[in-house]
Symmetry: C2
Subunit: 267 residues, 2 copies
């Protein structure tokens, strides 16, 4: 626990709707905006926030470009013109409200709520491996959910890392829960997300009260590479994921080339 | 077996992409267009066909309006102007190619392939309870898939029935397979759909060969009513389906009002 930025975590935000068709976070944030009692923890200001309201309105991932890739220095400093995409304008707004990213004025902690059609369960997504506060928080949440599983994904790949919405905070944490179709709400998935946030806020409270957290280790998954689907001469995808891999083997090692059913002129 | 239209079933079409984001049918039809060997049955002409190519291209349910509601007499006879929606124009085209609906020139049999995010398994959708050919076909498919389940849904509700794409054929059958997120292909779901079509074509072959099918009964589900979600004063949905109902209880009787978790300012 030697995080130079460690200290009382006073300002926390919970983002929903960064992708407008991932509805658990949209539902929860709207619910908390109307009735946020369960977010209350003494000494912490917790702000639920819809990050991409136009995409939420349209029930699409985004309007012009992916908001969750729009927090690079370049995007955040771009001068606004008529042609600037909605999400870049919105990213700058969010950066003013919750950042500025990389400064002392930034929010201490931001959770960003996502869904996936993959069977990832409730996965915590860390941005870097040096953030002791987030490591301790993930460790706490994992313990609270045991024997249920709560994988941690570390997205610090030098090339594949991208500039997330939550990255404006000193301590960012993504919460990715699935499987849930886009545009659909499943009560069990929503409940899993809500429980993760409950434990996370409990941790913040204990941390602020000065509770000692002994050094810990957590197992993390990392992105090793992206593998593209095979395509035919027309550029159409010609394979799908084999059902035994898709349905039962999330988070298990596999040789991706063995996982494709190559028989379809598909999409 | 006293269907006045009974007789050799010579022309069969298999529609995919009536809803452009339901991808099992899109994949299968594209695959069969490139390589239709498995559809071959002596004496039957089987035509795979993408019904809404623009929606498939955009990966959306439809472009202007739902193609699967556009086969009413009104839509099919509407004079085309600049403002006519894409799907109405397309419906007329499909009616010329595979109909005209309600005439002797119409295709004998059309399968229309759909997916749903609901856990409906592989469900056969019948348009009316008097079509002995379709009843025998459903009976045959159900037996072929036993002990696996293959529910039959009869959509002949006087008010809630709608004019489907497949309704241009003398004998229409919908094939609705789930759960699968929109815009996603799951190998197990695709396989279930493909197997249903295999058995259906086997039945057509036997029927054409003059095989006797003794009178039979099948259990069918019917639409009894539509129930709307509760909404708040802003028109936003304020409830979601309870997880025990949503995840385990498709096709079981329930009191819908007991099934809603009414706590969310939701969508
Ligand atoms: Zn997302
Ligand atoms: Zn459909």
């Amino acid at each position: 626990m030697a995080d130079s930025r460690a200290g009382p975590v006073g300002r926390v935000a919970i983002f929903g709707g960064t992708h407008g068709n991932e509805l658990s976070g949209v539902c929860l944030v709207k619910h908390w905006l109307a009735n946020g009692g369960e977010l209350h923890r003494d000494g912490v200001e917790v702000t639920p926030f819809i990050t991409n309201p136009r995409a939420v309105q349209k029930r699409t991932r985004y309007v012009d470009c992916d908001l969750n890739r729009a927090f690079s220095a370049d995007c955040l400093s771009r001068v606004e013109t008529e042609d600037t995409s909605y999400e870049v304008v919105r990213a700058q707004e969010i950066n003013r409200l919750f950042g500025p990213k990389g400064t002392n004025e930034a929010y201490d902690l931001i959770f960003d709520l996502h869904n996936t059609t993959s069977n990832m369960g409730g996965t915590l997504v860390m941005e870097n491996s040096e953030d002791d506060f987030v490591i301790q928080m993930c460790h706490y949440i994992k313990k609270a959910l045991a024997p249920g599983s709560c994988p941690v994904l570390l997205i610090d790949h030098p090339i594949l890392k991208y500039a997330t919405t939550r990255s404006v905070a000193k301590h960012p944490l993504g919460v990715e829960v699935g499987p849930q179709p886009n545009g659909v709400v499943r009560a069990d998935i929503l409940d899993k997300m809500r429980t993760i946030i409950k434990h996370a806020l409990d941790f913040v409270k204990l941390f602020n009260e000065g509770r000692e957290f002994p050094p810990c280790e957590i197992e993390v998954y990392r992105i090793s590479e992206k593998i593209y689907y095979p395509r035919n001469e027309d550029g159409e995808i010609t394979a799908i994921i084999h059902q035994h891999v898709q349905v039962y083997r999330d988070y298990l090692a596999c040789n991706m080339y063995d996982c494709l059913v190559e028989m379809f002129r598909c999409l």
